[in-house]
Symmetry: D2
Subunit: 261 residues, 4 copies
């Protein structure tokens, strides 16, 4: 049977990325403590395609991912996946993005009752002529209470759910989802919990009122956290508040690179 | 050229609805005052298919909708579209759903500055052996402030954006989007505005604090509004609050039918 | 601390459903064989609220779900969850909807290589004055090849990914996701696989070409399957093709009830 | 009334972007010919915030956009919006992204019947120390027929809807949506139409079969088109096929910069 993908191509264009996208499969993600967590992943995996090939072999991407779905994954294994993909597809470069919801146990502030909160996470691995690079992305829900509304009103203050979305280029260092989430979620007016009893609700309401923050404040404090991460090459961070008095969002965004890398 | 759709079918199954879905096109929607509003519509249009036909002619649905995209639409024209669809496709029944964002001018409560707020809307028309029926759907954003949080906390109260989603079977009566939206958006702790100056922000913050409502309260008051609509056959209504202290929603739902129809 | 939810309410409106929505948590779903599968669930859980209560206690819904997240679930356990919810919230009725992606191993038709395909699934449980009812929903991807295009063209035929979405009211009988999916995915022009080698691709291309089906044909054959399910009260089924020659979908829909229940 | 946004801030962090996001409003987009088209826009507008200000004034963003919603927009007016935003908010930089569906009239290849096809579009304007820059984004649906499937199968070939998504940094030159869409949609196996009669369906089926293309081929030919655009600084382009034999996508991506700018 002919392998038309191996045919020569006459357009003389090297392609940067060719692969599969929006593949769902269950994966195991390494936890900071206690083994791994089973997640529902949405995966994109690609390699470069030199000018002399007409096409790549898409079924091999699925074979590779099916195999790795049995092992628990962190930055190190992502590198192995990329090396295997590059080798099996005769490519020099390979890139993967894995999106998943990750659960972390939270303890309510007064009752101490436990529940699991979901955080949107993203692993991006890139293997190219610069070597291997790993980017960790997290989306952290928070409560944000408006300082202007508090200041000008006789009582109350509008507040809302907000999200801090950070992507961190880890360089050679290892950053755990648990640590990045924990550092960022303190930067809102107060963190969010799935389970709050009445004593907790009183507590979080009062703490948020005592700690009003514009989306700009949340961003500045998140930047403060991210600048202190050891060994990172760059970060980008967006804070978005789903304003409770509008039908649109307020947002603020920053990207910083560190040239000593 | 053969018309395979007209071939006989041997499974002897009458189909209730066959048609097209997720077609985007610009439509003109009649306003209560001042002509029409140009909207981006997502349309589904279908007819029944008797057992003796293998298939329907999908291109005719598009032809009909393209033609009607030039005229301004309300319940009455929706009926004409369905009659034309039934006739051109030799069907007894026809059904359409049109989803669109509709803008209504809002005046900020103190500064009186004007801006346009978007409401999700839905027209559903059904022509069948019961005659013609029209269902109007609206999604109305509101602010909701938690009575429990206010009661138990020394200061502040968590609040959030909420949505009242109502679908009303209009029967023979005419209900304007503008009127349904206006009646429902008063049932939250306070309405929402795209544009608020500082004096407005103070006002809406204080009014919401003075008017705390659970999602259950919003639903009960919305039910009160909907029960008073003249001539309707049934309604369903859902209120959902995007809780600012959780990463999930609180919601409440009700469906009521009126048997004197 | 006051429990404002227990306050009397003067509007005299019994509410049908009050609860939480869009809560994400990991759950364990019983498989037909071999234990359970860990899934990412999106959950809605609600109870009725009699007229004499102002509000319900939302934190209890989360407590109940957190507890059940440790046990493997099928229709039987869903019933237990609803009974616990009704009891803990002093309600007569309770309803749950659990949406998740579920993976089933597929074997490629020629190479026999294995891979896991994702199916959108939905469990709905309702406990009310009618007793307990359970509805199973599945979304099954298929390939659909157009009979008209094949018939009129000298070569080729447009084909596309389609979806069969069925919801089945199981009555007292037990229907496994695996069995419902397996029966439905044979009703397209050919089933879909994550992993196909070249010999498989030849096979599925030819089989689909030999088995052209309108969306109406897929629906009629799906109805044939669903009518044969033992002991069900009703089903609804929609087939949707993401037409490869249009930017919209073709669809067909049917709902049937069985009065001997 | 205090203006807390003007308070000094002690963290000494200049913020790159602060503004509003996910605001829906109706806008008028200039057409290549014949005036303008009314669209439903989703808008993000932001400015930089120097370290000495605690916050920006979000209501001014809405005021500016409401005003401009009355005028027809192209790259030139986007520049004016950004200059007004920078001036009114005492900022040096401003950025806007406007997403909308844009309709272009298509003529079926044989019957010549006309219908309007929707294309996802995006205007991004950036005013900063580099001056003014404008990026045009379009999403173009196509049909893609697999060369491998055609080659190895006795008859038929799997095909599917695909999308070419291009973003072009226009530099000083003007590129019309109509021209970019028209050039790109010829790069699939065949373009897509909302309305096709039977003679058209035969035509597009056969043409696609005669013109098989991998996602890599579509990308290479799209690159050929984009490289010839006069005066652009960079482009990025992604082709994605919603594979009809899988439940995931095949994709290919390229980004190219031109250093003579």
């Amino acid at each position: 049977m002919k392998d038309i993908q191996l045919h020569p191509d006459y357009r003389l264009i090297d392609l940067q990325r060719v692969g599969i996208k929006n593949l769902h499969l269950p994966l195991l993600i390494k936890q900071k403590k206690n083994g791994y967590q089973s997640v529902l992943a949405n995966v994109s995996l690609s390699v470069d395609l030199p000018r002399h090939y007409k096409g790549t072999h898409l079924s091999r991407f699925v074979e590779i991912l099916e195999k790795w779905s049995q092992k628990s994954l962190s930055s190190r294994e992502i590198k192995d996946i990329l090396e295997e993909a590059a080798k099996k597809l005769s490519a020099r470069q390979a890139q993967i993005t894995i999106k998943f919801k990750y659960f972390i146990k939270k303890k309510a502030p007064v009752s101490k009752q436990e529940s699991f909160l979901d955080y949107g996470c993203e692993f991006t691995g890139i293997k190219d002529s610069d070597g291997y690079n790993f980017i960790l992305g997290v989306e952290v829900p928070i409560t944000a209470l408006c300082p202007c509304s508090k200041e000008i009103s006789r009582y109350g203050a509008h507040n809302q759910r907000g999200y801090i979305r950070a992507r961190v280029h880890c360089g050679g260092s290892i950053i755990w989802i648990e640590d990045l989430v924990s550092a960022l979620e303190k930067q809102g007016s107060y963190p969010i919990f799935p389970l709050l009893k009445r004593a907790d609700e009183k507590f979080v309401t009062e703490r948020a009122y005592e700690n009003p923050k514009f989306v700009e404040d949340v961003l500045r404090d998140a930047i403060g956290v991210l600048r202190k991460l050891p060994g990172i090459k760059w970060f980008e961070v967006e804070c978005e508040n789903h304003e409770s008095i509008h039908n649109h969002s307020a947002f603020a965004y920053q990207r910083e690179s560190f040239t000593n890398f």
